[in-house]
Amino acid sequence: MRVHAKRAGALLGGLMFPAWSQADWTLNMRPGVTGISNDIFSLHMTILWICVAIGVVVFGVMFWSIFAHRKSQGHKASNFHENTVVEILWTIIPFVILVIMAIPATATLINMYDTTESDVNIRITGYQWKWQYQYVDDNFGYFSNLATPPDQISNREDKGEHYLLEVDNPLIVPVGKKIRFLVTSNDVIHSWWVPEFGVKKDAIPGYINETWAKVDEPGIYRGQCTELCGKNHGFMPIVVKAVPQPEYAAWVSDQKAAAEKERELTQKDWTMEELVARGEKVYQTTCAACHQPDGSGSPPAFPALIGSPVATGELAGHIDVVFNGRAGTAMQAFGKQLSEVDLAAVITYERNAWGNNMGDMVTPKQILDYKKQQQ
């Protein structure tokens, strides 16, 4: 009987609170894995305990009065209403405490601002709603998108362990090296935050902000965008994988080779089928957030592509919109974001998907020519 009740309880709990099995009731900040994050953590704990101590004294006196100085207990009110010594003391003592707090805070802040002598430089660009990582020393880069399937978000599928905190291409960094992050944005303000590093920096269009981290331990660290950036602000996580230096070096040379191959692909002769197949993938990761996976859009902000004047109009106009974006709207200039192959593929796909049977195509070489003309 008791076992049954327990099982029923567990089942009920499991049904009602499926997420609670994952929940961990974390109360406090974590110290993190960089020197800075450790310093921040100890500042946080110091000021917290100072507040607790002040609270104990102040609330202690107050509760003492509440219990002992009640009218219902027959307590008679005294009549004092000032005391210069006490008043001066409780102005000066807090001031001194603050000065003591300010010293370590200042030291940590100065350290955080010291971005000199970095070993690795990575440019981080915020986009609605993804991150771009460019390894400026090695001349390659890529986008990092949310990897959680939409079905998990809309509760049609069980949520995975790293629900909303998983990406297709994590940022890879070496441990034990000073990494300088150059943070900027392509559209609205975002903010790049990895709690374990103690790094949070706003990504602002027109600005390049600098910050840095030196990761002590290999591992996977997760964070999120922390500046409201529109509809999918909650869906642009950050995942950083810190690996030992040799592994990092090997990965970098692979990436460089892959970037080279990509450049060669531009020169290849593509068939329509190949372009459409590749274009569908590009479309789903890059365009579907606004124009919807089935091209239906969500007007008025995000127009439908099915039968749209652009996607079923002149090829040149279509290339122009995708390449240069539409000023004053959420439509970005993808010319800078996607490779020639991907641009050609996605444009060809949009012209031939969902009944937009235009039957024409554009090759990566044509896109390359267009790019040259633009400059």
Partner: protein
């Protein structure tokens, strides 16, 4: 000549006009005060129901009830309505009712403007709320409306939002001018500045803050208007503008604004605590100086909201030190309240319960404020639920509890009846429990890494979000009880004497309850 004299005497002898014109055309400070309070409570319920939508969506991970677009509209409208529609008008309502009665004046100094500044508000909020039904939806960029999200990327309704902000700003500025004119010119003979009740003092300083910063808010939205509609690029980097400029201007308004929302509550609580401690307020003069210091400092701390935007280190340090400094006068106020209670003869009627909770919970909000002031730590706290916890601790048990305490304290004077004490206490305890359950866990969520303004979250945040939602629903539902208590008190109840609270001090208690339509037509003498 005689006709003029006749209408004049008539005015003094008949009461308020009948029907709707009484309210539309009134210049009586008590009627206008009532309208402000009713309006504010209506907005409180509207903004509150939006909060219920937010908490319902956040009850569990995943998207259940609303889509992200609408979620963002709810957070934005909730913030705007609570700040500009609920808290600020409530304090103006209290000012209208109480300032003339506290300083022995017959009315506000500028009664017609008073009428106008009230009636602008419903117009402004009608415009603001109507954006919910427009194409593209209501503003969705947060109550701080950072550019370029609100300009280049904003919905078409943004222009209406700007217009609504302009109207609210005009209303606030007129209200503030009226308060200053009243306090400086209409005090009863003998009431020197340093004899003024603290509520009057805090409102005087608040009014100066309003006059200083509302034009700045008007300026920033006007620049947005130009960017959106007339091709300028104040905040558009691609046109040579500067998105960070927006934040500087906004927070130059925004930080004093948070003190606009708390100083009058400081004043009210400084009446209520002595009344129920049956003991004079401790440190009257230092209370006045502390409020003055807070007001001055509030102009030089704005960039503590911008520690992560990348301002130079010298600026960062300056704003950190200045912000930490605010804790000193704030601390003085808290110590004074506690010293007032110390060795008093305390009783805990509803106004006192709210006032004591105010002191305790506001102090907790002050502690988290101090933590946020430490710039390096703020990099971890900023734009997480820790900040949401902080400002709800200073605004809900701060501003809102201050308003409830005032309402219960002066309801007998306004209506002539005592409110139902048992119901009042129930209202307090349910609000107290609900509020702490809703907002305390947000500290933990923020420290564990949950960003604010997200409609869906990772699984490790599920537990405290559910607790928080339950607390929020409790708090929200409880406020309907307040409506019931007030209606019941207006319609009947034990007759209130002129001075229902044993330890209360002040000119308002020399008047009969309910206070007659016209009071202090001949000024009282203050010794």
């Amino acid at each position: 000549m005689s006709a003029v004299a006749d209408t004049h005497t008539q005015e003094h002898h008949h009461g308020p006009a009948r029907g709707f014109t009484r309210w539309l055309l009134t210049t009586n400070h008590k009627d206008i005060g009532t309208m402000y309070l009713v309006f504010s409570f209506t907005m409180f319920l509207l903004g509150g129901s939006m909060a219920m939508v937010i908490r319902a969506e956040l009850f569990q991970p995943g998207l259940q009830i609303v889509q992200p677009e609408f979620f963002n509209q709810m957070t934005t409208m909730h913030g705007l309505i609570m700040v500009f529609g609920a808290v600020m008008p409530a304090f103006v309502g209290l000012a209208n009712w109480m300032i003339p009665m506290m300083i022995g004046a017959p009315d506000m100094a500028l009664p017609r403007m008073n009428n106008w500044s009230f009636w602008l508000l419903p117009c402004a909020f009608l415009i603001l709320v109507s954006t919910l039904f427009m194409k593209g939806g209501a503003p969705n960029f947060g109550w701080t409306f950072y550019a370029p999200l609100s300009t280049t990327y904003g919905p078409p309704s943004t222009t209406f939002f700007i217009f609504a902000i302009h109207i609210m700003g005009i209303s606030s500025i007129m209200g503030a001018i009226n308060v200053i004119a009243t306090i400086l010119n209409l005090r009863a003979p003998g009431m020197t500045l340093m004899k003024m009740p603290l509520f009057v003092w805090t409102w005087l300083i608040t009014a100066f803050l309003l006059i200083a910063v509302m034009p700045v808010l008007a300026g920033v939205v006007t620049m947005m208007l130009m960017d959106i509609n007339f091709g300028t690029s104040f905040f558009d980097a691609s046109g040579g503008g500067d998105p960070v400029l927006f934040q500087h201007v906004f927070w130059f308004f925004g930080h004093p604004e948070v003190y606009i929302m708390i100083l009058p509550a400081f004043g009210a609580v400084s009446h209520i605590i002595p009344a129920f401690s049956r003991k004079p307020l401790f440190g009257y003069a230092s209370m006045v100086y502390a409020v003055g210091a807070i007001a001055l400092l509030s102009f030089v701390v704005w960039a503590h909201h911008m520690f992560t935007v990348g301002i130079p280190i010298a600026g960062q340090l300056f704003f950190m030190y200045a912000t930490m400094l605010i804790a000193v006068p704030t601390g003085v106020k808290v110590f004074n309240w506690v010293a007032t209670m110390f060795r008093g003869s305390l009783s805990f009627e509803t106004p006192m319960l709210f006032a004591v909770a105010f002191v305790i919970l506001f102090t907790i909000g002050g502690f988290s404020g101090l933590m946020l002031a430490i710039a390096p730590s703020d990099f971890q706290y900023h734009d997480t639920y820790f900040v949401v916890a902080h400002f709800h601790y200073v605004l809900v048990p701060g501003a809102i509890f201050g308003i409830f305490a005032s309402a219960y304290f002066w309801l007998p004077k306004w209506t002539g009846h005592m409110y139902d004490e048992t119901l009042g206490k129930t209202h307090f305890w349910l609000s107290f429990i609900g509020m702490n359950l809703a907002f305390f866990p947000m500290h933990f969520l923020g420290l564990a890494g949950m960003p604010r303004r997200i409609p869906d979250y990772a699984l490790q945040f599920a537990d405290f979000n559910m607790v928080s939602s339950i607390g929020a629903f409790t708090f929200g539902a409880t406020q309907l009880l307040f409506l019931f208590i007030v209606i019941k008190c207006i319609r009947g109840g034990k007759e209130a004497p002129a001075k229902p609270w044993e330890g209360a001090e002040g000119l308002e208690w020399t008047l009969p309850s309910p206070a007659p339509y016209h009071t202090f037509e001949t000024p009282p003498e203050v010794k």
